[in-house]
Structure formats: C-alpha cells, structure tokens
Subunit: 284 residues, 4 copies
C-alpha cells in the first residue's frame, strides 16, 4: 500500500455534467484517477459511480476531502461514501459449528486477499474456539436461547464496539439476528446456502434434494430485517445429479459457500459494492 | 441406425441379484449390451436402471421381448418401459409468439440431433405460421380464451391423435395446460424461464431483475398438474450484472431456454430420463 | 433508436486529468453521458476508456465532433475511434458447409440483437445457398483452391466494397484468409472451435478427444496474420465426459460456437471492444 | 463405514455377456451391488466398468475374492483392480512454498471428505513446516538441486516406503519428478495451474495474461514421464477480464486449484477413476 487511494461511491439523481463535475474536483486538486466506473439505472433515474484516485500528489489533506466534496455534491442531491485504502477495516466473524467458511476467511486473510484485520470471532457454540486459538484470534462464546437473546445481543454489540468492528461476517452463523441489532449495527454480510430466492429459510439443501434440482447455489448478501431478502452481492452455482444425496449437496455446497462469501467480503472491503434500494451495483 | 437397439428403463424395489437377473436375460438371448447404468435411491429403497443392447443377433423377436421380460420383472415388483431405437417418436411443438426455441428445435432436428419426427406445430397465435411454412411443417392455430379452453383442448387432443404424436414440447407456449388435458396426454416437456423453484409462475425475468439476482436460469421439466413443479430434467444458468436491464435478462435467457430445452428433449428421446416420484434420474 | 448516441473508444498514455478533459468536452457541448468506463493497464502505461453520450441536445453537429475532439486528443497522444449509433454497420457472413452459426446469426439479427444489416453471404461451397434464399440474403459462391486463392480473394474484396461491408464474420469458414487480404480488410471476427490457445489449427475436437480433456471451449477473436492468435473477444466452455465421442464434442461445441460468436459480434457492434497490442478491453 | 464394500475396476476387450458374467459372480456369492456403471469405448474396442458391492453377507472371504475373480477374468482378457473400502489409503502431500492446496486438503481430510490418512508432508522448502506442526503431521524438508536430485529422490522413495504411502499428491510442488521416480512410484496426482493442454510448463498465469484469454483453468492429472501430459482426472475454469492483472489470475487460480485437486483426489480415493491409454473414465 505504498500509494494509498481515496474512493468515492456516489448515487445521485441523473443529470448532465455529473462525470465532468466529479472528475474536475479530483483533477483540480491534482488527483490521479486509477479507477472510474459508472452505471445509470434509467428506471430509477439514478446515476451511480465509483471513482478511486491516488492520494500521493493530491492537494487536499484527507480530512478536508469530505467537506470539500460536500460542497459539490449537495446541489446535485447526491448520497456518497468516502473511503481511504490506508484505513484498514476490522472484521468480526460470527460462526456456529461449521468451520469451512471460518478457515477459508482466515486463510485468505493471511494470504493478503483481504485488506482488513480479523481481531474477533463470536459464536453461539464453543466448538470453534480451537480454530480461533490456532490462529491467535479472540473468541467469545455467546450462547443464544429464545429467552436470553436480547441481553446476549447487547453483549454482542458491546463486543463490536470494544473491538472497533466495522463489518460483521456471518460465516454460517445459524441464528437470526434481530431487527433491533441490525438497526444498531447494519454492516453485516451473510452467506445463505441456496440460490436465492429459491429455498429461503431453513434446510435449503434438504429442500433442493426433495425438489430434484439439477443445480444448487449459494448467495452472499447484506443482512436486512427481511429474512434472506437483503441486497445480493454475489451468487454462484454447481451442478448436482441424481447420484448426489443430501450429504453430497452439503459437501458441494460448502465449496460454493466458501468462495461466494469470500468474493462478497473482498468486494465489500475494496469498496466495490454500492447498495441502492434492495439492489447492488458491483463495480468490478 | 444400421444397428438398432432396445432399451429398458426399470425401477424396482432394491434387492440382491437385480443386475445379474436383467443382464442374464439379455445375455441368454444373445444380446450385446452397449449401455448399462444403475442408481440406487437408498432412502426410497429403489433400484433404477437403464440398459441398452443391440437387436442384431438378439434371439427374441421384438414383439416377444416385453412378454418375456414381464416374466422376470413381475416377481421383482418392477415397473419398466421398453423402447426400440428404430421406432421414431413423433413430436408436436407448441408455441405462442416467441420463435427462438422453435427455430432451435427445428434446426437441431435437421442437424440430426433428435431421432424424431416433427410433423406438427400448434399455437394459440397465428404469428409463427411463417416459420412452419418455411420448413414445411403443418401449423394449427388454436386460440385460447377462458371460455373456449375446454373445447380447444379437445381439438388439441384430436390433433395429437391424428398426427400420432408421442411427445408434446412446450417451446414457450404461454398458456397453462389443464389437468384434464395432462391426464389424457401426460408426455409433455416444458421450458420455464427461471431457475426453478425460484420465480414460479409469470414474469420470472422481471422478478429476477427486481430481486437483484446475479445469476439467472432456465429449467426444463415434465408437466404435471402442479404449476412449474413437475420433475426437472435439466437446468442451466448464466451470469447477469447490474448493467443488465430486464430486456437483457430476456435476451440472455433466450440462449439458456434454447439449450436447456434442447438438452431435455434429446435426453428424453434417447430414453435417458427415468421419472420416479417428483424426481428424475438422468442416465447420461 | 429514438435517441442516438455517440461513442468514443480511446487509448492514451496514462496521465492526470484524462477523465476530466474528456468529460468536460462532452459536458461543455451539452452532452448527457450514459456510459463511461475506463481501464488502466499499469504495465503498459495505458489509459483506455469508452464513453457514450446522447446526441439529442449535443451542441456540436456530428461532422464536427471528430475535428473538435482531435484538438483535445492530439496533445494527449491519444488514439481514438468515434461511432454513431444511428450509423448501421453492414456485415458479410462467410461460411463453408456448417449452418449452425449462420442460422444463429440470422435469427439474432431478426430478433434485433444486432444493430446491423446482413446483405451478403460468401461461401467456398454452394451448400448454404438455400439458407441465404430462405431469408432473402445475397449469396456468392467463391470456391477456393491453392491455385486460385489470390484471384478469388480479389473477388471477395470487390464484393465487400460493392456491398459496403464494415465487418466480416467468419461463421465456420474453413479456409485461411491470406495476410494480404487481412491488410486490405482488417475488420474480421472469427470463431475457433477450441479454448485457445489449446488446439490451435485443424481438428480441435479430435485432438481434444485424444487428449482426454474434461472441458471443451470455443473462442471468438479478431483475425490477424498469425493463425488463431488474434485478440480474443470472448470464450466459453462446456463440460464433457468419457461418454462423449468426437461427434458429441462436435455437437456440444456447436452450441458454444453459436453463442460465443454471437456475443463477440454483438460486443463489437455495440463498440464495446477496444483492441490494444494483442489484447482486448471489453467494456461490458 | 459400518458396511464395507468391495470395488472392481475392470477394462476388457468388448464381447457379449460381460455384464452378466461379472454380475453373476457377485450374485452367486451373495453380494448386493450398490453401484455398477460401464462404458464402452467403441474405437478402442474396450469395455470398462466399475462395480461395487457390500461385503456383509458376501460368501467369499476378502482374500479369496481376487483369485476367484481371476478365474473369470482371465479367459476374458480383462485387466482389473480390486479395492476394499475398509482398507484406508495413506497419502503423502508434497508442497513447495504455497499453502492453499495444503490447507485445503488437510481441512477436507478433517471434514471426512477423504477416506484416507495423511501421515506425511514432504517439501523442497522449509516454509510450510508450521502448517504441518499445526495439524500434527510429519514434515520432511528435502531440498532439491540439479546436483542432488537423484539422491534426494532416493530419500523420498524411502520415506514413502517407511510411511507406507499409497498415493502422492503434488499440491503445488514446483519441481519436476524424474522418470525414474515415477517408474518406482507411479501413483501420483498433480495439480497444474492451467487449462491443459493450454500453457503446459512454467508460468501459465503469466502466459495466460499475455495471451489475453477470457477464462483460466486448472487441471488435475496423473503424473507420467511426459510433462503435464498425463491422464486428466478433472478440470475447471473461471472467467477473467481485462481488469485482472497477473496477480488476480493467480488469486482466482488458487480457488480453482484447491477445488480441482480436491475433486481429483476424492475421485481417486473412492476408486472412481479408471485409466486406459492416456485417458480416464470417471465413474461418477
């Protein structure tokens, strides 16, 4: 990261001159754009863009970029986020008993696929503490019952604050997160083990087997209060046949889950995902 | 087809000696097996097999094979179908206004991908008569309204009888076929323009767009009285992105529909599909 | 095409302010940008961009856009092409004996997937004249031998001029086009029936079968004087198994060839492909 | 493994009665067949089959099955292998510096995807000893130079004997194994980081980047003395675009390598792969 960058993710009512105005703002301050992509959703009348430029040689100090850009964006009615590549996000991974996504995320982190830190693992079961220990990551066991859910979610929120977490990754966390929790901490990516919107809810592999599908899938999406209905970031599929029992679907599905979740997390961390309505623009 | 074959598709309660008994029946009569595949569904306790042998050199005349095999299969409690490769099935293609699957099926027929005849096209619209004329296939325009459906279905059934049709292929026929019709003529393959069971029913591409999926699919299945819920023969998918409008999904979907329907029809015609319950075994 | 657009495809040594300068040129003249995408090839030090804007409301008349943009681009050392969506390109399809890509391209043309005209088919065999007749397209039979190749290529060039052809699509044309021809008419898209660079040259399906591959592919590329080595526009693959004979690879390959060639032609016609060196940027 | 099975993999000149004779052998001894699949390679005149039956209730003791089957197979001119599911194969994983396939194989082993033991890791570098230690697997560092290769290979062979290894998995082992070694120990599965036969040899990702391909692949194959030309077990691919630098190809390729190698190893361990000539039949 010898040459850090700034990234703007902007959504704005479509109008003439948007590209010019944004590009001029960066050029006028001496920035070198290394990525610019835009999308127009004609039915929504929305212009959506991602623009990334190098901070070396940029005349505005980092803390003045947001206020300066605000002056441009306000008359346009734009919503935007500003990210710096040298501000490293902090991730909490939440798991239950299955370890495949956890191992995979940790391995990718160590392989430098994620520009992030992973200081915290939370689980409703104690089983995966050994994995956390193996890689020196703090592990908190927070069991959930119908009765204790509100107080346990309070503990979870406290932990996220204490560890300064920016993103929660539900890596096969088999509990529903409450609407209240999501309101307090909305940055949550989930992996669902089906090709959504097929097989929303529990036991998707069993239901895929019973339906006799010839392809199964996995879906990574942002969590909203509507179960398995949040904005989709990434999906992928694999062929199955009549020879595949439910346990084969589960096994094949694990490979999908790992790679689909990892791609979604990586896209998010590189500020490539712009949510609007219940959809995402993925600037790849 | 210089060397015609016979094919048995058998489903049978699982028990010892099934492979031996069936193989012995063919060997004892001098048959040379060129394809044998089996599947055991342990949860259903079912043995399912496909076995194909050359008729040249087979000692039993064609009309005695079924009764002879019956003597073996009855004690086993087996259900079976017998097909001869030199009995050419006759297909009726049903369409509405879209021509892509129709052109594709006709082209594949002429390219010898289907061992079948296509003497009949039925449509609820007159538009595709020009295509039928182009390739010299009889075209019957049978418009459907809420009121006339029963009598029109009677006409359809009569046409199927008159043309000695073995298989109806719904190649984007945008009408629901009644339960009564299906009872009278159950051999119907449909193409549905979604990755079932996602987006059952009308306007799957619009709904896929609204849900913001990253992959769309197509599904070919046998028709049952349960809408879009019959046994799946084949599915395939293609990636889409935020840049794809509904019309792009439709365009990309057409390529899927063509190839998925064609594969399903070809599998069926080669007697590779064995239906049991609401599932298929595809002996590829 | 009620609202025609102009599209610039630009490649340029990377430097600060490129996006701003280009966007300002369009904004200053009242243009509404509907697509802008860029790519920086850091190793080549190249900035590559595609920018499309609506002509309605644009202050510069069409014939002044190029000279006006030249004034901006020359100091930048940029190479560029300018295309107007209401200038409809004219395609010649070249075939030999196989009809699948030909039928497919014609069907897509009629389905409005290609904003182009197809006034001419050229073949070294007479067989596909019936298809040309079926759809009312002029067909010229130009047989090629070792001896007559130079004079026949002269005839081909004359036909391309006479029909005002902008793009030649080799839709399974099984002859090598000479370097001399390519120099005179460089806009040629080919479909090669393998996953290049595997199986360059003749009989790729036979060689794929002998090698025992588990996946086969097809590749669409621009023709250069280096056989099967031109810039790749699109590739796709399909699984095969030990059960697939060479004729099955050919059959499965045809489906790939159709769709891969069609995607490449469509990308080219929409001015989405920018060639630099032996590579393409595909602005999708 | 409460009900162990025996599996025969047979290749045999094609002739009448093969299925019957083999099935009878098993039925006559009270065996219950749970998987039987066959393939006829007509051009080679070969019948290839895999047949698996339960040992519980089988009348022949395990050590008499081979001699008994020999009496049947010899007159047929068949080659065959006999495997028992309760004989657990022992794997040595060979690595260099990259850890992704190693971690993946270990994780799958622990997830019970492989019915095998992994008692030994061999590397020409010391770096991955930490991974071996983490999971309690013996690690031997055997550095290779041009000069010491013969003696080091002798050490490797000794280790394989000492650890009673049945299968060597080259999990990104970046050294060529000598013909002499392969003669002594022929059961070796490799992962090559390209879609073979494209990019045989060194630096496939760099060469794929330079060629401008739109899809990259990975190939798992048995090692022969012909570099990267052994019988292919499994291949898979992933899309890339102009935005992907070489390092992105490497990253995306790692995901392919992991899953393709794992599938090949699992197929081998389940005795699903039958090699003949330079091809494989994969009985899935």
């Amino acid at each position: 990261m010898s040459n850090p960058t700034a990234t703007l993710l902007i959504s704005c009512p479509d109008q003439r001159g948007l590209v010019a105005k944004i590009a001029n703002f960066i050029y006028a301050n001496g920035g070198n754009i290394i990525h610019a992509d835009q999308h127009t959703d004609f039915s929504a009348g929305l212009f959506l863009t991602r623009i990334e430029w190098q901070l070396n040689g940029f005349n505005l100090p980092k803390d003045l970029i947001a206020p300066a850009f605000n002056a441009i964006s306000q008359p346009l009615g734009a919503k935007w986020q500003l990210h710096f590549s040298d501000t490293i996000p902090r991730i909490a991974i939440w798991v239950s008993r299955q370890d495949h996504c956890l191992y995979d995320l940790i391995w990718r982190h160590r392989a430098k696929e994620f520009a992030a830190e992973i200081p915290l693992i939370i689980s409703n079961h104690p089983h995966l503490k050994v994995v956390a220990d193996q890689f020196g990551i703090d592990f908190h066991h927070i069991p959930i019952t119908k009765e204790n859910k509100p107080e346990q979610e309070t503990k979870q929120i406290e932990l996220l604050r204490q560890y300064k977490i920016d993103l929660v990754v539900l890596a096969k966390y088999m509990q529903i997160v409450s609407a209240d929790f999501i309101t307090q901490f909305p940055q949550i990516i989930n992996i669902h083990h089906s090709f959504l919107p097929a097989f929303v809810g529990a036991n998707p592999y069993h239901r895929a087997f019973e339906r006799g599908v010839k392809i199964i899938g996995a879906t990574s999406h942002y969590i909203t209060t509507d179960l398995d209905a949040g904005p989709i970031i990434e999906q992928d599929v694999v062929r199955v046949s009549h020879r595949d029992e439910v346990e084969d679907l589960v096994r094949k599905g694990k490979d999908l889950e790992r790679v689909v979740l990892a791609r979604a997390v990586r896209l998010h961390l590189r500020n490539r995902v712009l949510v609007y309505g219940n959809r995402t623009v993925v600037f790849e």
